[in-house]
């Protein structure tokens, strides 16, 4: 895990464009779950490290282009600014998946 790109993004969904395809929840379950009607419930905690690739993939795959990625400034220790997004049901603390390797 040495050469981490030091970028972080905040995952956001445009609710008007969203049509409940659910690809984002499949690709980034650490940040997106689906409500009972299939629409995404997004955790506003910034995405960093390995997960950025999945967030980017989710944004590319969304058939309605409803995923918006906001760049988040990264603080010196490599920790992204952690204030959760105002939208959505508040920032839940998502357990770190640092040790779990997957291929985007």
């Amino acid at each position: 895990m040495s050469a981490q790109p030091r970028i972080a993004v905040r995952f956001r969904v445009d609710p008007v464009a969203c049509d409940a395809y659910g690809y984002c929840a499949e690709l980034l379950p650490e940040r997106v779950t689906l409500d009972e009607w299939g629409y995404p419930v997004v955790d506003g905690t910034p995405v960093d490290g390995d997960l950025v690739a999945f967030a980017t993939r989710a944004a590319a795959e969304c058939p309605r282009r409803a995923v918006l990625l906001e760049a988040v400034p990264v603080r010196r220790q490599g920790q992204p600014g952690s204030a959760p997004d105002g939208d959505g049901p508040g920032g839940r603390n998502v357990p770190s998946v640092g040790g779990f390797r997957r291929h985007p």
Binding site: C18, W37, Y39
Partner: protein
């Protein structure tokens, strides 16, 4: 200024001999005095006027409550050519104040629009009135005609008639309609970037806000702050309906206790609760009627200032039934663009209706709470948030009723026709090119 010794704040509406009469141009000048609005204001005038509005602390009267000066700042900084849009749509069914202002003080609205236009350098003003509000539209058109005849032609003024749905009063929906698109809200990521109509940046103000601006232009910010509270200065229009003897539109200082507002409208029956802020506002228990009608105190009480609306619910009515109908209506007024609102609101309405008639299952209350929590903040506009606020406040204020209903014992009042009324909604149309 002490909040307890409020007299009627008589600034926007002058009532003489028990009735108000519409003010034509000469009557308007006789009542309010004249104000000099330059055709092309020089920088010091603009700066002075901007400072006056900023120092007045005027908050928007359209429901969102943004500081008026902040909006001016955003539009002024935008490099595109600006225009002013007057939002007199009155999307809130329980409110009548925009129509009252259009009928009785149209020149005050136009003065405010001209002041705003002069400061931001706009040469066009568009007044938006709901398509079903014909008399108000005639009134403002007559006023525009008077001004033209009097040679006050510095800015181009026109009247538009978008469809009168609940969401068309929302700023971005209104602007969408002016852009020949459906009158539905759009997602705004950065609220500091102004909306645009045909590539011109747009300053949107509620009609009442503009009236206040017109008065600030005449009398200055210190005068403005003589009424109201420190955080929420000035007067505001409140529409009082429900179990009151004289329903209608009142002008009060911000910070007036709700009980006093009700008193002036002639509330004389036992009330169980009061709906404040509109159909997207919140219920206030009868024990909390001393709460001042101002953003801060109302928020502390779990309610919101919203649009000036107070609806008195008599003790003989059923708050759960009223809320059920409200949610059903608001579900129908959804713009239909975002899943959580489109599916969530009807689902909550279903449960509330079953609860109202005492046929809800044991999970109903939990389901309502759960769904409320999950849909809040996830729409493209604040429509579902307002409904959730009403629902949550209902379950708190009418908690005893809710429990009884859930156990299959609806209160006797559920069978009465509701106090809240709902207008027929025309279909959403498009602006004709």
């Amino acid at each position: 200024m002490s909040v307890t010794t409020l007299a009627t704040a008589e600034r926007l509406l002058f009532v003489d001999g028990g009735a108000a009469s519409p003010l034509d141009l000469s009557g308007h000048i006789a009542t309010h005095g004249a104000v000099a609005i330059p055709t092309r204001g020089d920088h010091s005038w603009k700066a002075g006027m901007f400072r006056a509005v900023a120092e007045s602390g005027l908050l928007g009267r359209g429901g969102a409550g943004f500081a008026a000066a902040a909006k001016w700042d955003a539009v002024y900084r935008d490099p595109r050519r600006p225009m002013v849009v007057v939002n007199a749509m009155e999307g809130e069914p329980a409110s009548d104040k925009d129509r009252v202002l259009l009928t009785y003080s149209p020149h005050l609205i136009l003065d405010g629009a001209e002041v705003a236009a002069a400061v931001i350098g706009a040469s066009e003003i568009v007044i938006c009135i709901a398509d079903h509000n014909g008399s108000a539209a005639s009134s403002i058109e007559a006023a525009i005609g008077e001004r033209r005849q009097a040679g006050m032609t510095a800015r181009r003024m026109s009247v538009e008639r978008p469809p009168g749905r609940y969401v068309t009063g929302e700023e971005s929906a209104l602007v969408s309609w002016l852009n020949h698109r459906p009158a539905l809200p759009i997602l705004r990521i950065d609220k500091s970037v102004p909306l645009n109509v045909a590539r011109r940046s747009v300053l949107v103000h509620n009609a009442e806000t503009l009236c206040q601006i017109a008065l600030i232009a005449r009398h200055g910010p210190e005068w403005f702050r003589q009424a109201g509270t420190l955080e929420a200065p000035g007067s505001t229009l409140v529409t009082v309906t429900g179990a009151v003897r004289s329903p209608g539109v009142l002008e009060v200082e911000l910070g007036t206790p709700v009980a006093e507002i009700l008193g002036r409208a002639g509330a004389d029956v036992d009330l169980s609760a009061v709906l404040v802020g509109g159909y997207g506002g919140a219920w206030l228990d009868a024990s909390r009627l001393a709460t001042p009608y101002a953003p801060g105190p109302l928020a502390d009480a779990g309610a919101t200032h919203g649009v000036g609306v107070v609806i008195a619910l008599p003790a003989t009515s059923c708050g759960i039934a009223e809320t059920a109908q409200l949610v059903r209506y608001m579900a129908g007024e959804s713009a239909g663009q975002c899943g959580p609102c489109v599916f969530g609101l009807p689902a909550i309405a279903d449960d509330l209706e079953q609860l109202a008639i005492g046929r809800a299952d044991v999970e109903a209350l939990d389901r309502i709470q759960r769904r409320s929590a999950v849909i809040v903040g996830r729409g493209g506009c604040r429509h579902p948030d307002g409904v959730v606020r009403v629902v949550r406040s209902a379950l708190e204020v009418f908690v005893a009723d809710a429990m009884a209903h859930a156990e299959g014992r609806p209160c006797p009042g559920y069978d009465h026709p509701t106090v809240l009324t709902f207008p027929e909604s025309p279909a959403t149309g498009r602006r004709s090119p």
